[in-house]
């Protein structure tokens, strides 16, 4: 049962990701990206990462995707002639993407991965909180400062000039 759900989520993620990059209408791409992000959150649940799955839903779907849809709405001219969404590099891009995929696949399949057997933890939230305030305190503060700076920078950049 869990196995088939896993493959369903995997197929769902990959197909909607293909929709994101191949669709001609930008807003449909954004909706497909929503399903991709949902699928990735499902994969995180299968990987026992409950906290990361929640953050994925909150930050990616609740934040980044809404920002992207705002961007589409603010910059698309409804009345304009619809041009092709892809440039002339489609052949080269496809070739490079397939080459990269085969390269990664060869690395993945040829490496003897050392898998450890572990039992599923009840929750990862407490341990992540402890790590963030002990071992990873400096990266945590640095990323907070970076986010603050980026948000102030974005607000300054997009403000109307007077």
């Amino acid at each position: 049962m869990a196995e088939s759900i896993f493959w369903f989520i995997a197929a769902f993620t990959v197909i909607s990701a293909a929709f994101v990059v191949l669709n001609n209408q930008l807003i449909y791409s954004a909706v497909a990206l929503l399903f991709t992000l949902f699928g990735v959150a499902g994969l995180y649940v299968f990987l026992w990462a409950d906290f990361i799955a929640g953050v994925q839903l909150l930050v990616y779907i609740g934040g980044i995707l809404v920002l992207i849809i705002f961007g589409i709405m603010l910059t698309n001219r409804i009345s304009s002639v619809r041009l092709s969404q892809t440039n002339v590099q489609q052949g080269v891009g496809g070739a490079v993407a397939i080459w990269l995929f085969i390269l990664i696949l060869m690395v993945v399949s040829k490496t003897p991965w050392n898998q450890m057997d572990t039992i599923e933890p009840a929750s990862t939230v407490g341990d992540i909180g402890t790590l963030l305030l002990t071992k990873y305190l400096l990266p945590f503060e640095a990323i907070s400062l970076l986010l603050l700076g980026a948000l102030i920078g974005a607000a300054v950049l997009s403000r109307e000039e007077n």
Binding site: L47, F51, L67, N87, F101, L132, P139
Partner: protein, 101 residues
């Protein structure tokens, strides 16, 4: 579902699709969506290695940091895209190539 290779395989597909999107899309926002796919692929790898490496939570911290970076990147990139649209009336990355008007 209990095999590391499955997750790495899915992440490889997502990464390649993201690279394809970044290279072939004309619209700046669509390029941004390709970047999001690439970041998600990297994140799946981090969490998968964390899970199959003995449930070591260091990978989860990396995943969190990547998600925060993606949020910062999306905010700044969209501000830039909207500015380009206001100045040049297009957000097609191959048309908006001039460094000044």
């Amino acid at each position: 579902m209990d095999q590391l290779n499955n997750y790495l395989f899915i992440a490889a597909i997502l990464f390649s699709l993201g690279v394809f999107g970044v290279m072939t899309r004309r619209n700046g926002i669509a390029v941004l969506m390709g970047v999001e796919l690439i970041l998600n692929a990297a994140n799946i790898n981090f969490i998968a290695f964390s899970r199959f490496g003995g449930m070591n939570l260091d990978g989860h911290i990396f995943g969190l940091i990547i998600i925060v970076l993606a949020a910062a990147e999306a905010a700044v990139a969209l501000a830039i895209v909207i500015n380009i649209y206001n100045n040049m009336n297009t957000i097609n990355v191959d048309e908006a190539s001039a460094l000044k008007e």
